[in-house]
Subunit: 114 residues, 2 copies
DNA sequence: CCCTTATATTACTCGATGGTAATATATACA
DNA sequence: TGTATATATTACCATCGAGTAATATAAGGG
């Protein structure tokens, strides 16, 4: 039950859903996500932790950068099912469409470096 | 996006998930649900409203009683998908198993009438 | 070693949410 | 019309969760 609730709670926030839809297209580091969602960096880190605890995302360190990606869902059947459905869901949502359009312009060389 | 979030939020509470699993087995009135979940009657009504807003349950009035049932999900593709998955999910969860076992003993003639 | 940069953690605020008791509404029946 | 019962609504409290600024940690380059 707890694993199920974790996944549903993770999907109950619009910014986290947007984040998952973004990661469908490519691996992203924290500051790229921050630039896309227009929220503070600690907020992004917290969202990523929630998604990771739910088994929806994972990461790989690369020097200073931490690259986040979707999991294959092998840790949780709920996560696996939702990630599969999410590929089709919300594809026509205006906010998602707009975010996906801006994704090619978000590059870490530009948006990072404070 | 908003419809999606509503469904996920509705599924983020253990009592609401239990309620859906109960309704998989049969139609129930409010006081039967209250007796099964051991929470106050207004709390049950609030949970039912959240589930109804998400397109997951509906009801039919029958005299004093209001009988709640699962929808066919035709209002929301997210609700439809989740209700389909929920039939298989959590079937072995200890809390769910215990609730399902007690369901035959919960009859409105016994548990209602204050 | 120091400096810089990317990310995580901490401490905090504010609005949302689950819970309740009290009350209102709706319906059946005498 | 008056009473009883099932449910919904309201008002309120306590906790949770999303947001932030400030600070700590990690890692690369001089």
């Amino acid at each position: 039950m707890n694993d199920f609730i974790k996944v549903m709670k993770a999907l109950s926030d619009p910014n986290r859903v947007k984040l998952l839809k973004m990661l469908q297209h490519r691996v992203m580091c924290v500051c790229e996500i921050q630039a896309t969602l227009n929220i503070a960096q600690p907020t992004v880190s917290k969202h990523l932790k929630v998604l990771e605890d739910a088994g929806l995302v994972s990461y790989r360190k690369d020097g200073l950068w931490v690259n986040y990606h979707l999991t294959d869902g092998s840790n949780s059947p709920y996560a696996a099912s939702i990630l599969g459905n999410l590929k089709h869901w919300l594809e026509d949502d205006p906010e998602i469409v707009q975010i996906v359009e801006t994704l090619p312009n978000i590059r870490r060389e530009d948006v990072c470096k404070k």
